[in-house]
Symmetry: none
DNA sequence: GATGAATGAGGGTTCATTCAT
DNA sequence: TATGAATGAACCCTCATTCAT
């Protein structure tokens, strides 16, 4: 007979560790932990409360329901990722093109590295029926697309670079490509990700795509470095 | 004991419609329908049975449990997509390079167009904890990567085309890019997808990436295939 | 996906073996087999039908419902046991007392040996809520008690044997003791049952109880061995 | 979601009655009640919860599953019976033999009288497939057999009493006989049980069996204990 | 008769949520 | 505020029974 015994010793200790943190934070951490450890299906509110070292009632003190709880976690995770992205974007804009792309790629990788395990459960297991996780991710991606498009439009106007004509599509492809490659690599192809060529190739791909070279027509254009240099030069030469 | 069952006219009519189809097929269709209409969390076996116009027992006559039911649906969907892909791949191999890429892209779009709504729920909502759904999708993608890599290796040997050095990464990027762009466009960016430039740009991106032109340096290198010609011109002269 | 495949080859073969038997008999055998092999909880009508090599419909052709099916099996088993008992009882009546007891004990053991495995499931697992198994067993035991009582009464009248005064209780105790000891030994104490002393002791117990010795009054009655000998001698001494 | 719950007056009142008792106790009582009233097959967890005046969830708060629930009930019942038995056994050991037997028989009757109706369902209807109910009963009986055997061995050594040679069988028969007779009488033959002769006869049977009188052969053998004396003497003088 | 696909009431169990303390 | 026992709708699944063929 299993009576409700509570040898919650370890639980209590764990909870104490987080004592400094607010209860909300403790709950959110526990949510992430349980989600990663046990998967979405097993992540019941009771289990989360247990892990957090608080009573189930306390969860409902701060979150109206389970969806809101997961929503807050998603929001928080997305914001962390966005933070990494944004802090990088800042100086991306001022860099010469190929370097900007590389910075963008690295930022994306860094963003995905914030908490890959959590990211994975969030993306793969959370029910996306409501408007929760995936929708928020899409929002972020949409933001990125807009940003990139703006950046490209700016480039096109202020430099002589030759860019794809349909900037909507171009920005979409650039962002989608970098995000998808990064995402898949971080989650499922760690060995590919580890190769130096991974970033190089990904950057190369995006640069080659976005940057159309006029150089072909002007064979002698001496470019110091491969990618970086050629690009600028290419623009509306004629 | 089964007493007078309530008429449930629509249910009966629905059932009669599908009478010609096997029960298994009816159930699978209902599963897809409910999944798309109500989302995974609401797709209970009882709801599916109701939609199928069969009793809950009939589902368990053909599927040992719910997971197997969804598994069968995933399998079926994946096979349909794979069918589209494979039937296209056949002649891809014999085509000159850029056309091969275009064929590949179109095949991927067509594959995703088989049942986009279902594809979406399957990808986004099915719990990927078991081994079924996502794993199967990854299998297919892994197959695609292998195929592409083989194809590229073959190209590199039998032609004078210059390809990326790290073919593992190259194949991964090519497949991931095309799949991701296609997937996202089909599911969430129908207006981008509708533009003629979408395919053009996607093809362009992949071709520009995979194909490095030596022609610039070796103007006379006359390559028979169309492949060489278009791309070549692009690269940096110096 | 588990479709209703029917590689019922072995099933069919099994069924053929019983082809000579009537369908009812085949079903009853299958019922016993499944009951013994899988236990009551797993003995579903479908499983029984499968084992019998007939369709589930055929069972309902011959038995109105599951209870009736098990009822028939119980009836049959009880009758077999009763047959063994009765055929023994016939000559018990004419035997001198201690031998009669021994014959009775042996008959009981033989009766329980008819199909111990089946007997066990029937006794231990069949729901006795209705009036089915246990009730029938009790009927048989009640019959036995009556028989024994009659026998004892007859003995008391026609001989000078001294018997317990309360023949109701005496008969009850005698039958209960022999049945219980036999039952438990056959089902759970095979090693005790195998000892020669088992039967000897059981017979001894009953004889000592039923037969009160006049010897006490006749101190010199020299009995060679303790139990065995004293008893016989006791017989119609007067 | 829990909307306005229906009054269910009796349920509430019943619940209030037991409010003092722990929920576990209430559930266990309800289980026993339903088991006795409706039989095992009808004793669904929902029915038990209803009877207990608690929600079905409360059952699962304290018992991991249905088997554990019944297991706890069996355990509890067995312990109660064992308690009665043990408290009696204490002074059995110090008593002269026939009185010890009588005490044993009375203890067994008292033990079976703890809750005969429950005892009956537990013994007759609980599926003994798992390891719980029947196994536990057998454990108790095995303990009794061991105890009795030890007691007899002690007697044989420390007194001049003549006992059966095979003490394994003797102890088995003694315990089985007393248990079976008691069990059947309590459950199905209340009128026999009510007769004073019932206990007398049962005690008589066991004593006669276990105790072999040397007195016959050795008239003068004066045995201190009451045992020897009573037995012989018992026979009808006339 | 025989078949077996289909039926659906009902069983055990889970877990988000409430509320008296 | 915090607690956690209690709640009960709903889920997945089983299986005795039916009936059109």
């Amino acid at each position: 007979m299993r009576l409700a015994r509570k040898p919650k010793i370890s639980r209590v200790r764990k909870a104490r560790q987080d004592r400094a943190l607010g209860t909300v934070d403790t709950i959110l951490r526990a949510t992430a932990h349980v989600l990663v450890r046990d998967g979405y299906d097993k992540a019941s509110t009771n289990r989360i409360a247990e892990r957090a070292g608080v009573s189930i009632g306390s969860i409902y003190q701060y979150f109206p329901n389970k969806e809101a709880l997961f929503g807050a976690l998603v929001e928080r995770h997305i914001e962390e990722m966005r933070g990494v992205l944004v802090s990088t974007f800042a100086d991306v804009l001022s860099k010469p093109f190929p370097e900007a792309v590389r910075a963008f790629v690295l930022a994306m990788i860094r963003a995905h590295a914030v908490d890959p395990a959590l990211h994975r459960v969030l993306i793969e297991q959370l029910p996306r029926v409501g408007s929760l996780p995936l929708a928020r991710v899409r929002d972020v991606e949409a933001d990125a697309v807009t940003l990139v498009k703006t950046y490209l439009a700016h480039l096109a106007e202020s430099t002589s670079l030759v860019l794809p004509k349909d900037l909507d599509v171009a920005a979409f492809l650039a962002v989608t490509t970098v995000e998808a490659a990064t995402h898949k690599a971080v989650l499922h192809e760690r060995d590919l990700l580890a190769r130096p060529s991974f970033v190089d190739e990904l950057v190369d791909m995006v640069v080659r795509y976005l940057l159309r070279d006029e150089a072909a027509e002007k064979p002698r254009a001496p470019t110091a470095t491969a990618t970086k240099i050629s690009a600028p030069r290419r623009r509306r030469a004629s």
